[in-house]
Amino acid sequence: MATDQRAPILKAFQDALLSRRFEERVIQLSMAGEIPATLHPGAGQEVCQAAAIAALGAEDKVLYGHRGICYMVARGTPLTAILADIAGREGGTNRGKGGVMHIVDVPHGVLGESGTLGGGFVIAAGVGMALKRFGRGQVVVHFFGDGTSNRGTFHESLNWAAVKKLPVIFFCENNGWAVSVPSTVSHAVPDISARAHGYGVPGVLVDGNDAFAVHEVMSEAVARARRGEGPTLIEAKVTRMFGHYIGDRQPYRPDAAEAATRDPLPGFRQAVLDAGILDAAAIERLEQECAARVDEAVEAVRAAPLLDLELALTDAYA
């Protein structure tokens, strides 16, 4: 491990752990009917997401995918705001307009998400155009799934980003499933990263469960983008541990039970211990801290008023 990975890996571990504990609580509250079950669980993909985001700077931008809330947690969006967006309470980021799918936190560089799958590529290209024009060395990373890599927008954006050498990182979390459709029946080539060749950009394949490796390839892509050398397509192989949505029983998925056990967090915990980044007692304290932060957010949101329904009529126009 390079010594400069200690701080970002520690951050990634904290973010992944907090996201998991938070998501577990959100699912509990949803199953209990206290909040709507609108979340698409990110369990299994947080290690990858957190490690990638740990390679970014405060001025960088993120357009995220729909799986989980680790992206915003890792960027620093308060748990209370995220939960308020899910629960339809005051204190959220989009005041009922977008819910959990469209959490936005501009000061932390969280720019939002496309509701139509694959709709984010072209937005990311435009953000990259602006960042390049500003000339301050900022980058934007767009997280997306293997499924959306089949949209035409993927092609248009990667091509344009390559032509213009835009500071955009295309980060594919390949979990092998587009809702209920396995990539074996939707992709002729198993590795999304192989498509990079067609655009003349680097295509990097990485084990998404290996936080150190993810952080390293992401850091290289960020450095390349900051140098003005253009985009990188990163593909991280990850596991979608659960269904597409809360309550999805996955009758279409023969490996559903086995996938639920393929949790990268214990391995990440061990790696953090082995690298001497945290000891067992510190991890225990971190677990307690995460539980306390989740409790605090739940109580804050329970105390927050429901959104004023008249907000439905605002924000369509500036």
């Binding site: 931008k61 959220g92 980021t93 989009n94 005041r95 307009k97 977008g98 469209h102 936005v104 501009v106 720019l111 939002g112 496309s114 509701g115 139509t116 709709g119 590529f121 072209v122 937005i123 990311a124 290209a125 435009g126 953000v127 990259g128 155009m129 602006a130 960042l131 024009r133 500003f134 035409g152 927008t153 248009e156 954006s157 091509n159 344009w160 032509v163 605002t314 924000d315 369509a316 126009y317 500036a318």
Partner: protein, 321 residues
Amino acid sequence: MSVITYQQAVNQAIAEEMERDERVLLYGEDVSIGIFGTTAGLVERFGPERVFDTPISEPLIVGSAVGAAMMGLRPVVELQFADFIFTAGDEVFLKAGMWRFMHGGAYTLPLVIRAASGGAGFGPEHSACPEAFIMHSPGLLCAVPSTPEDAKGLLKEAIRLDNPVLFFEHKSLYGVRGEVPDGEYTTPFGQACVRRTGDAVTIVAWQNMLRRALEAADRLAADGIEVEIVDPRTLNPFDRDTIIDSVKKTGACMVVEEGYRTLGVGAEIGAMLMEEALPYLDKPLKRLAIPDVPIATDRRMAEHIFPSALAIESAVRGLVG
């Protein structure tokens, strides 16, 4: 005042706004030359960092404008043919139209999508006047300038507004000449213009249909029939008051449009008059529009289904007779 073409007016508007605001960019397919010549000379003047050609990637053109706008730039993008709003449907209707709302007003989206609409001889996928689709969709402003003066003033205003604007330039008007004020001016959105005053019938028309309505009006005037012609100039925001005020005077309304009849702009105006001005109407609403079929490539066949000046004249005679 100086006399310039509608096309020159568009070019001047972009150039003036690029001159006064560094954040304004111009891009799209073939903008370096301008497929209709409209944007010619701008890359030479403002450089390839601010004026550039894109690949044939309409979703990218509009979607990237949304991304650039949320970061604080003010992109003016071109879709060449207005029909291509459907090629970039997700980006026009769901991204430009909804991203600000969906993200709780976290940012503004100051972008202008220019597209050439209408006209005969371009074929079913290059002839649309799709303003009714935009008028029907939340979050999108829509301008339909009819004169060089308005093309320049409305485009300058569109570039300065903080909301996405669909700016339709009618192909048949590009060569039309007209007076524009010298010096700085903008034309506000949401203010219709009464192009001709009269008391017989209120005609609502814009762009090429406005020209035909004015032509019909001259012939009707020879017989002592004075129609009032209202040009809405923008369809969102839409100036209802000017139309209602005119109808109070004339008691009759006719809408002439180069869009499809069913659920067209005329249908909305008719419904609005039913709700807000029925006591003033002495006669049923009259709509002249394109029947609900695609527009054939053959120019004569296209003109056969477009409202003509003669048809407008005849419809007015029917209303007042």
